[in-house]
């Protein structure tokens, strides 16, 4: 059982890392600020979500799992807010091509 959970953790965390990599590739390849925001908010949130999901079976008590989920929710809130702030500024300052 614990071996299965360990395998689950390794798979989920590695998959999360792949999403972070894809987000970073998008950040480098996408043409403008607004498009790059898509890469950062979407791909990285799924990446972090998968890493949190993978770490859940490794927590010793259920409250530690709540801590992990709270961390994920706070990152979602922050990235959702910041991406809108940047998007608003970008739309004002760089006219769409």
């Amino acid at each position: 059982m614990s071996l299965l959970l360990d395998i689950f953790t390794v798979v989920a965390v590695s998959l999360g890392a792949v999403f972070f990599l894809a987000g970073a590739v998008g950040l480098l390849r996408f043409p403008d600020t607004l498009t790059r925001l898509h890469a950062l908010t979407k791909a990285d949130n799924v990446g972090l979500g998968l890493i949190v999901l993978g770490l859940l079976p490794q927590t010793e008590r259920p409250l530690a799992a709540v801590k992990l989920i709270v961390a994920w929710l706070l990152v979602q809130l922050a990235s959702g807010t910041v991406s809108q702030l940047i998007a608003r500024t970008a739309r004002r300052t760089e006219p769409p091509a």
């Binding site: 706070l74 922050a78 807010t81 702030l85 608003r88």
Partner: protein, 315 residues
């Protein structure tokens, strides 16, 4: 090469790259952004150096609050920023400075390589006396018991810095409120963040202060989080900075240092020396001082970011 050392090497390269970027950037804004990233990378280094208390401080103050301060100043001075290229000093001057700075770096590097081995350390002494304080975190014991005088003076320095900032106000604004921190373009998503995050930040800040007695954390780190929540509500336009002549503002600002000083003076009678704690009460007194300092430090940090008064007193 072990994995850990490879990771450290990567971290060191990233930090040096961010530092070079910060110094070499043409305009101020990217330089400040680079500096914030540099502060966050340093946080990782402090974790690698087994100093989680410092890592928390660096993340909260070094990266976060200093970043807010510098970004605010950058945007207010942007109009006056001249084209950087024309203002640069001559090449020979820059080469000479670069040479001298390289010499300095080389000298420090030599000192690092020549540090004595085994290294002198106060860790055993700090650990031996830890049970007397009742505190579990040695860094907190240093800050509030062994070298409490440093921390008392530090809280005084924070207040003095705030008095210094306030004293820059023109006479007609003395006693009034600092300028509003609200962003020029009102933004719904930022006010949502300013509504949802502060209560969570308060729980987190109190936790970090509370846990600091026995685990990584402490009043400066927790107070910075609480102070940052206040700054966030002010930036989201949900609150305005208070008038600095109001009595409650001043009471909160000095409460921490005043209480600390009172405990210190009481030490003369109760324990025979300034800032000595009576046996058995050390931990309770340390926690009480931390709580009192937390509110004061949070308010001081918030008002340091807000700056000098810029509006006349409302009558």
């Amino acid at each position: 090469m072990t994995f850990a050392l490879a990771f450290d090497c990567g971290l060191a390269v990233l930090i040096l790259a961010m530092a070079i970027w910060t110094i070499a950037a043409r305009t101020t804004f990217p330089a400040v952004v680079g500096f914030v990233a540099y502060g966050l990378l340093l946080t990782l280094v402090w974790m690698r150096l087994a100093a989680p208390d410092v890592a928390l401080t660096e993340a909260a103050i070094g990266g976060g609050l200093t970043g807010v301060l510098l970004l605010g100043a950058t945007s207010r001075l942007r109009a006056t920023e001249p084209p950087a290229v024309s203002e640069r000093p001559s090449v020979p001057f820059r080469l000479a400075v670069a040479g001298l700075c390289t010499l300095l770096s080389a000298a420090i590097a030599a000192v690092v390589l020549l540090l004595p081995d085994p290294a002198p350390t106060l860790a055993p002494e700090a650990a031996a006396k830890l049970s007397l304080t009742g505190v579990g975190n040695a860094v907190t014991a240093v800050l509030l018991a062994y070298r409490a005088l440093d921390t008392l003076l530090e809280s005084a320095v924070l207040l003095l810095a705030l008095v210094g900032v306030w004293s820059l106000a023109p006479d007609r604004f003395w006693g009034g409120a600092p300028r509003s921190l609200a962003l020029r373009h009102r933004d719904g998503s930022l006010s949502l963040l300013g509504q949802v995050l502060p209560p969570i930040g308060i729980v987190l800040g109190v936790y970090i202060v509370w846990v600091g007695a026995d685990a990584p954390g402490g009043k400066f780190q927790g107070a910075t989080i609480i102070g940052a929540m206040w700054v966030l509500t002010m930036m989201a336009g949900l609150q305005t900075p208070p008038e600095i002549s109001q009595a409650w503002v001043r009471v909160i600002l000095v409460a921490g240092a005043a209480f600390f000083l009172a405990v210190g003076i009481a030490g003369f009678w109760l324990a025979g020396a300034f800032l000595a704690y009576p046996t058995g009460f050390a931990k309770s007194l340390i926690v009480a001082i931390e709580v009192a300092l937390t509110l004061s430090v949070a308010a001081t940090l918030g008002l340091l970011v807000a700056g000098p008064p810029a509006r006349p007193v409302r009558t």
